[in-house]
C-alpha cells in the first residue's frame, strides 16, 4: 500500500514539475476534436448526437495512447526502471501506482476535452456531467490497466511508439464498445443503461486482475 502511494506521489509530482505529458495529451485531444469536427459534413443536431459518443471516445483513446507511451519513457532515464524492478516491494503495487497516476492524468485531460468537445459540437454536457464522468471513469480504468501493463512492454521494444497502439487497440475493443454504447444512451435519453456498464465493470475487473498478476513478468530485468 505504501508502495502504491509512493509511486503515485512520485509520478504526480514529477508531472506537476514538468507538466509536459498532460499538456501534450490535452493539446493532441483538442486537435483531434477540431479535426473530427471539420471532417463531419453536417451540423444536424440529431446526427451530431448520434455520432458524438464515438468521436469523443476516439479523442480519449488517442490522447490516452499518447500519454501511456510516455508513462515508462521517463523511467528509462538513469535506469530508473531497473530501480523499480529491484525495489523490495510487491510489483503488483508498483503497477497499481503507475496505473493510478496514468488514470489521474488522463482524467484531467478528459475533463478538459469534454468541455472543448461540448462547445465544438454544440452539445450541452453540463446536466449529464456526473453520469458522463462515471462512464468515462469506468472506461479509463480499463484503458489505464492494460495500457500501463503494455506501456511497460512497449517501452523496451524497437519502434515503441508504434508498438503500443498495435498491442492495445485490439484489446480495448470491449471497453470502447461498452463506453460508446453507454455514452450514446446517456446523450439520447439521459439514462444509464445496465448492459454496457456491466460489460465495463466486468472488463475492468478482468483487465485489473490480469495486469496486476502479470506485471511481475513484465518488469523482470
Amino acid at each position: 500500500m505504501n508502495t502504491l502511494a509512493a509511486i503515485l506521489w512520485k509520478d504526480l509530482v514529477s508531472e506537476w514539475r514538468s507538466r509536459d505529458r498532460v499538456i501534450a495529451m490535452g493539446l493532441f485531444a483538442f486537435l483531434v476534436v477540431i479535426v473530427l469536427r471539420f471532417a463531419l459534413p453536417g451540423t444536424d443536431p440529431v446526427e451530431v448526437k448520434r455520432l458524438a459518443p464515438g468521436l469523443l471516445w476516439v479523442a480519449y483513446v488517442f490522447a490516452a495512447l499518447l500519454g501511456l507511451n510516455r508513462a515508462f519513457a521517463l523511467e528509462l532515464e538513469n535506469d530508473a526502471l531497473a530501480g523499480l524492478a529491484l525495489a523490495p516491494a510487491d510489483r503488483g503495487w508498483v503497477f497499481l501506482g503507475k496505473a493510478l497516476a496514468n488514470f489521474v492524468l488522463l482524467a484531467l485531460v478528459q475533463a478538459a476535452t469534454a468541455t472543448v468537445f461540448g462547445i465544438a459540437f454544440a452539445l450541452d454536457l453540463v446536466p449529464i456531467a456526473g453520469r458522463l464522468a462515471a462512464i468515462v471513469a469506468l472506461g479509463s480504468l480499463g484503458i489505464c490497466t492494460v495500457g500501463t501493463l503494455f506501456s511497460a512492454v512497449a517501452v523496451r521494444t524497437r519502434y515503441r511508439e508504434v508498438m503500443l497502439p498495435l498491442l492495445l487497440l485490439p484489446l480495448l475493443m470491449p471497453i470502447l464498445l461498452g463506453a460508446v454504447s453507454a455514452t450514446t444512451s446517456l446523450l439520447g435519453d439521459g439514462a444509464l443503461p445496465f448492459e454496457p456498464l456491466q460489460l465495463l465493470v466486468v472488463t475492468d475487473g478482468i483487465f485489473l486482475i490480469v495486469s496486476f498478476v502479470s506485471f511481475e513478468f513484465v518488469l523482470d530485468e
Binding site: 492494460v146 501493463l149 503494455f150 512492454v153 523496451r156 521494444t157 524497437r158 519502434y159 508498438m163 498495435l166 498491442l167 487497440l169 485490439p170 484489446l171 475493443m173 470491449p174 464498445l177 461498452g178 460508446v180 454504447s181 448492459e195 454496457p196 460489460l199 466486468v202 472488463t203 478482468i206 490480469v210 502479470s214 513478468f217 513484465v218 523482470d220 530485468e221
Partner: protein
C-alpha cells in the same frame, strides 16, 4: 539479464521429442485424410439454395477450428512458460501462434468469398466475423511484439503476457459485439444438427484434415525453432582446446 529461478535453456524437452515423433505419422495421416476428404467433397450433394459455393462449408469452419486451437495453445504455452520457465513451452506458444495465424488468415479470406455468394456482400459486421478479425489483429501484434523485442527470454515473457491477455479478451469481445447490435447472421447449423443428408461426412473429414494439418505444421515449426535454439547454443558455447569449428 539475470535468469529467473527455474529458468533453463533446453534445446529439447519431452514435449519436443513427442512432437518430433508425431511429425511423420501426422504427415501421412494428413495425406490420407486429404484424399478421402477431396473425394467426399466432390461427391457431396449440391446445395439446393446456395448452389456449389456452399461447398466452402467443408473448408471454412474446419479452418476456424484449427485457428482457435492455435490461439488456445499460444496462451497455454505462454502460461506454462511463465510458470515453469521452460523455453520449450515458449517455442510451442510461438509456433502455435504462427500456424494459428496462417489458419486464421485463411478463415478471414474464405469467409468473405462465401458471404459474397450467399449473403450478397463481402463483409458484414457480424458477431463472429468481428471477433475473428480482432483475434487476427491480436495474434499479428503478438508476432510483431516478438520480432521487435530484443533478447529471446524477454521476448518470450512479453509475448506470453500478451497471449494470455489476448485469450482473456475473446469472451469479452463476444459479449461486447453482441451487445452493440452485431447480432450473428452466421447459421447455427452444428447446434441444430441441420446439415443436409450427405453433408455430415465431408464436414467431419474437413475438420479432421484441418486439425491434422495444424498438428503437422506445428510439429515442423516447433522442430525448426528447437534446431535454431540448438544452433545458437552451439555458436555461443565456449570452445575447448582442440575443438574444431
Amino acid at each position: 539479464m539475470t535468469e529467473r529461478p527455474g529458468s533453463r535453456v533446453t534445446a529439447s524437452s519431452a514435449l519436443e521429442r513427442f512432437l518430433r515423433a508425431l511429425r511423420t505419422p501426422s504427415g501421412w495421416l494428413f495425406a490420407l485424410l486429404f484424399a478421402a476428404w477431396a473425394v467426399s467433397v466432390a461427391r457431396a450433394p449440391i446445395d439446393s439454395v446456395q448452389g456449389v459455393i456452399q461447398k466452402i462449408l467443408y473448408v471454412h469452419p474446419p479452418l476456424a477450428f484449427a485457428a482457435y486451437l492455435g490461439f488456445a495453445l499460444t496462451a497455454v504455452g505462454g502460461a506454462l512458460f511463465l510458470w515453469r520457465g521452460d523455453e520449450s513451452f515458449d517455442r510451442l506458444a510461438r509456433s502455435a501462434a504462427e500456424v494459428g495465424l496462417l489458419f486464421c488468415t485463411l478463415v478471414v479470406i474464405t469467409g468473405p468469398i462465401w458471404a459474397k455468394g450467399t449473403w450478397g456482400r463481402w463483409w458484414s459486421w457480424d458477431l463472429r466475423l468481428t471477433v475473428t478479425l480482432l483475434l487476427w489483429f491480436v495474434y499479428l501484434a503478438y508476432l510483431l511484439l516478438r520480432s521487435f523485442t530484443e533478447g529471446s527470454e524477454r521476448a518470450a515473457r512479453f509475448a506470453a503476457v500478451y497471449g494470455i491477455a489476448g485469450l482473456a479478451v475473446i469472451p469479452l469481445n463476444y459479449f461486447a459485439i453482441d451487445m452493440a447490435g452485431g447480432r450473428s447472421i452466421h447459421p447455427q447449423n452444428l447446434e441444430r444438427g441441420s446439415l443436409g443428408a450427405g453433408m455430415g461426412m465431408p464436414f467431419a473429414l474437413g475438420a479432421f484434415v484441418c486439425i491434422v494439418a495444424f498438428v503437422h505444421l506445428l510439429c515442423r515449426r516447433v522442430e525448426i525453432e528447437s534446431l535454431r535454439t540448438r544452433l545458437a547454443e552451439r555458436l555461443m558455447a565456449p570452445r575447448g582446446p582442440g575443438a574444431r569449428g
